[in-house]
Each structure stands twice: as structure tokens, then as C-alpha cells.
């Protein structure tokens, strides 16, 4: 975090190229979460890019009270919300692998295991897509991005107690969606 603040200080002094380091540092992490959040990789790429552009243009408003990544994530969520209102999803994560971004990293399993994993992943993504946006958001932030409750609360602008109950309800909802998959 202190590295980020140093970079930001440099950028605000006029060395804008330092922002490239922030982009490279966070773009894949943000892209992964946003892709699961919005359910398609093309939109996710656009949202990530726009989030970085807005972060750069509004960097002076960043006060450093939270981590840069938390602030960036919050911008990305707002961009995603705006985009979601503006248009419908185009390509799902399922079908988007060959269109934009690399195929999700999946280790080097054997053919049978790979097929099984892919099927399980497909069902989980399908289950996630069935959740409400607010439930999907907390699950992605917690389980996929690994954020703590406090960070999730900052990103979503909600009290920690709300995050805790919402996260639990999201889990129960996804459990119902995936019941068959979990039996396996």
C-alpha cells in the first residue's frame, strides 16, 4: 500500500508514467473479479480500462484513507453498474474465452480431471450468474478476490454487519443453485 501511495505521489507531481505501474500491478486481479462479477470478459475488459482511466483522471480526489486497490475496485463497480444499466451482457464468460483475454488459468491436470473441472467450473459460473447482483458482488469479492469484510464494506459502501449477513445469504443461495455440483 505504501508503494502505491508513493507511486500516486509521483503521478500527482507530474510523472504520469508512474501510473503504468499501478495499471500493470492491478489489471489482472481487477479483470478476474470484474469478469466473474459481470459474467462476460468483453465487458470486463472495457470496465477495467474505464476504471483505470477514471482513477487516473480523479487521482487527486484519492485521499489515501483506504487502499488504492479498494478505491479502484469501487470505481470499477460503479462503472460496471453504469454499463449494466446501459446495455445487456453480450458474451458470457462461457463463450468468451476465445474472444477476449486468455483462457482461464487452470494448472496442468490430466484430460479426465480437466473435463471434470471444466464442467464443475461451468456449473459454478452458471450458478453465480443466477444470483442477484448484490449477492454475486459479495461472493466474488470474498471468495474470488479474497477481500476481508472491512474491504468489501468499503468497496460496496455498506456496513460490515450488512456484508456479513448478505454474504451468508449469498452462500446459501449459491449452495441451492449448486446442490448437484457439490454432491459430486
Amino acid at each position: 500500500m505504501s508503494d502505491d501511495l508513493e507511486l500516486i505521489a509521483e503521478i500527482l507531481k507530474g510523472r504520469t508514467a508512474a501510473f503504468e505501474n499501478l495499471v500493470r500491478k492491478y489489471q489482472d486481479r481487477l479483470f478476474n473479479s470484474v469478469a466473474y462479477m459481470v459474467g462476460n470478459v468483453e465487458d470486463a475488459r472495457d470496465i477495467v480500462q474505464e476504471a483505470f482511466v477514471q482513477a487516473f483522471l480523479n487521482l487527486r480526489t484519492f485521499q489515501g484513507t483506504s487502499a488504492f486497490y479498494t478505491w479502484l475496485y469501487r470505481i470499477a463497480f460503479n462503472v460496471a453498474a453504469t454499463e449494466r444499466r446501459r446495455k445487456r451482457p453480450k458474451i458470457s464468460v462461457e463463450r468468451g474465452r476465445d474472444r477476449t483475454g486468455r483462457e482461464p488459468i487452470d494448472g496442468q491436470p490430466g484430460p479426465a480431471e480437466r473435463v471434470e473441472r471444466e464442467e464443475r467450473g461451468r456449473r459454478v459460473r452458471q450458478g453465480l450468474s443466477q444470483l442477484s447482483e448484490e449477492h454475486r458482488a459479495v461472493l466474488v469479492l470474498r471468495e474470488i478476490d479474497g477481500c476481508r469484510y472491512e474491504t468489501i464494506a468499503e468497496i460496496l459502501g455498506l456496513p460490515i454487519g450488512t456484508i456479513r449477513s448478505r454474504l451468508h445469504r449469498a452462500r446459501l443461495e449459491l449452495r441451492e443453485e449448486l446442490k448437484n455440483a457439490l454432491i459430486d
Binding site: 503504468e20 470478459v41 488459468i105 454474504l167 449459491l174 449448486l178
Partner: protein, 366 residues
């Protein structure tokens, strides 16, 4: 384990988000209640499943694109409406932010407000210093509605315009002087005892734009081609202009021009470059004594030149033929073609004849 808070407790326990007291409570719950243990296992399995999902990689470095995009947006101010970063309430309308944005843009480009200010100033000056309203002697009878003949179609139309404007109707005898304060004004307040016929309102005009729905704005008047010429009254009464139109298959509107274009007389006069008091609108002006007549024709490409040539070919009837082309195309959607139009509707042209009662002087060399 029956209540929701126990469920949430286990979920938070799994996440390591409990304080010491809560953690102790969760562990007691797990020890005492087998179903709690089962739920915890299920939640743990769910978490593992989600965490084992493959990661998406962007596969490109966005840094250069981001900086270029930001620089472009900053430099050219092409920042389309986009969400403001990190708002407490995303998507919420912020009038203050909008106001600041507009103020910033004006500060950066002050010229953007110059023309609107000039237009507003000119409009205000015209309203205040309208010569017909301020100077009763100026312009004489041929510039004032009140001085138009009382009988005949022209007078009727003038009255129609007055009714539509909601003005007090004046029917002076020919040549009678009417005090300025008694004259009709296009901006007069509508009198409650005068209820205009809606078709009159549209066809013959009035100053109340709010009464004519879907009427093109005054700005759209600039989209009309206007042919102007002087004409002898005899030529107009005999409708000599028809020869030009008939020979060239040009459709002449038989309806009142104001009705077709949905313009008030004031707007028509403005478009035609004549005084509204001089105006007679439509093709049948034979029994009236107007000072100007406006016709509406619909022409195909190339026919405007034929109108000009045709009128110039009759110098004893029409002269000083000129044309005014619009600087910008009309902003309103095109109206359907005129009845009887033989060529595809391409352009509407106002043909304005200003009457010269005296015999037209023969052009030099003719």
C-alpha cells in the same frame, strides 16, 4: 441451530471474521449441534469450489491504452457522461457536479456562450424597439395591419392573424389612422372573449407559439429557400406566375402556406423577409390588395433555376428576382409532399412577390 444469526455466525467463523467472544460462541454451537457442523462443511466446500475457479487473465497491458485515453479525454474534453469515481451512491444525479462541469467548460471555451448571448440580446432589442409598436408615424399605412383594407380576403386574413394572436380586433376604415396603443400586437395577451379557431391559429397565425403544437421552431425557418421578386399587381391578379410553374411541372400549394408549414404569419414574414403587415398568404390573392404575396412550391433539383429564369423572362411583370438559400438545412422532419406534386419532394421554396402598384419600370436594355 435455528436462527439466522447462528447461520451468519458460522459463515463469519469460516471467514475468520469473528472476535474472540463470537468465535467462542461459534465453537460451542459446533460442539453442541451436529447440523451446524454439517452446514459449516457445506459452506467450506462451496468456498473451495469458488476459490478453485480458473482465473481470467487480461492477456494485454492496458497501461498505455489507459494513459492515452485519459490524455485524449483531458485534452479534448470528450468526456462523455460517465460515472464519477467512488461515489457513495453510484448513478445518482448530482446537479452541483453538473453545474461545475458546465462552468468549467464555459471557462475553458468562453466563445461557446457568445452567440447565444448575441441572439438573446438581438431578440430582446427587437422586442423592445419594434418600430411598428413604438412609432405610429413610421412606415405609414402600408406597414401596418390596422391600415389594411377592411373588406376583402386580405383584411379577413389580417383579422385572423389578430385573433390568433389574441389581440384586440381592429377594423378601421381604409386610410383611417389608429392609435398605436389600439393597434394589434403580435405579443398581445390573449383576450378571453376571443377564441381562435384552431385551424386559423395554425393557418393564419398568431404570436402564441405554445398554441401550435409540433410547429417548427423559428430556427428551422432558416432552412427554406426563398425566391423574392417585385411584381405588378396586374401580374399577380392574373396569376402570371402560374405559367412558370405549369411549364416546369412545379407543384404549387393550394393550401394556406402557414397551414402547410405550420408557421404563424409573423414567422412566414420573417422567413420571406417582408413585414407581416404587408402579407397575404396563398395563391389566391386576386381579390385582395396585399403588399406582398407568398406562395409555396415544391421543387425537384434544378427547378429552382427554372423558376428564376421563368420570372426573369417576364420583366414587364416581375423583376428584381433574387434568391436566398438557407445556410443550414431545415431541422424539422420533412412534411409529406404537396398534393399534385409530380416530382419527388426535394425542397420547398417560398416565392415572395412584393407588389408594386405603379407600373413596373422596364429594365434597362429591354
Amino acid at each position: 441451530m435455528k436462527n439466522q444469526s447462528d447461520h451468519e455466525l458460522l459463515s463469519a467463523y469460516l471467514d475468520g471474521e469473528l472476535d474472540a467472544a463470537e468465535r467462542a460462541r461459534a465453537e460451542r454451537l459446533l460442539a453442541d449441534n451436529p447440523s451446524a457442523g454439517q452446514l459449516l462443511d457445506e459452506l467450506r466446500a462451496l468456498g473451495s469450489t469458488l476459490q478453485s475457479l480458473p482465473r481470467h487473465e487480461l492477456g494485454e497491458d492496458l497501461s498505455e491504452t489507459v494513459l492515452q485515453s485519459a490524455a485524449r479525454r483531458k485534452a479534448n474534453e470528450i468526456d462523455a457522461p460517465r460515472p464519477v469515481p467512488a461515489p457513495a451512491e453510484p448513478g445518482r444525479f448530482r446537479p452541483r457536479a453538473l453545474g461545475r462541469k458546465i462552468a468549467d467548460r464555459i471557462k475553458d471555451n468562453p466563445r461557446m456562450v457568445v452567440w447565444p448571448l448575441i441572439v438573446l440580446t438581438v431578440a430582446a432589442l427587437l422586442m423592445v424597439f419594434d418600430p411598428d409598436r413604438r412609432d405610429p408615424g413610421r412606415g405609414g399605412g402600408d406597414r401596418n395591419i390596422a391600415m389594411l383594407p377592411q373588406d376583402g380576403k386580405s383584411a379577413g386574413k389580417a383579422e385572423g392573424a389578430d385573433r390568433a394572436a389574441g389581440a384586440k380586433i381592429i377594423a378601421p376604415k381604409e386610410g383611417e389612422y389608429v392609435k398605436p396603443e389600439d393597434r394589434p400586437s403580435m405579443s398581445a395577451v390573449k383576450s378571453p372573449d376571443v377564441v381562435p379557431n384552431p385551424s386559423q391559429l395554425v393557418a393564419k397565425g398568431g404570436g402564441d407559439a405554445a398554441e401550435t403544437p409540433d410547429r417548427p421552431s423559428a430556427a428551422s425557418l432558416a432552412g427554406l429557400v426563398v425566391i423574392q421578386c417585385q411584381a405588378s399587381r396586374e401580374a399577380l391578379e392574373k396569376r402570371e406566375y402560374r405559367k412558370v410553374f405549369d411549364e416546369n411541372d412545379i407543384a404549387l400549394s393550394e393550401q394556406p402556406v402557414g397551414e402547410v408549414l405550420r408557421m404563424t404569419p409573423a414567422e412566414l414574414a420573417s422567413a420571406a423577409g417582408v413585414d407581416v403587415a404587408e402579407l397575404d398568404v396563398g395563391p389566391h390573392a386576386a381579390d385582395a390588395k396585399p403588399k406582398a404575396t407568398i406562395l409555396l412550391v415544391e421543387v425537384a433539383p434544378g427547378q429552382i433555376a427554372k423558376i428564376l429564369d421563368g420570372l426573369k423572362a417576364m420583366p414587364d411583370k416581375f423583376h428584381e428576382v433574387s434568391i436566398r438559400t438557407p445556410r443550414t438545412p431545415p431541422s424539422h422532419s420533412p412534411a409529406p409532399p404537396l398534393p399534385g406534386a409530380k416530382a419527388p419532394a426535394a425542397k420547398r421554396v417560398l416565392v415572395v412577390f412584393r407588389v408594386l402598384d405603379a407600373a413596373l419600370p422596364m429594365p434597362a436594355g429591354k
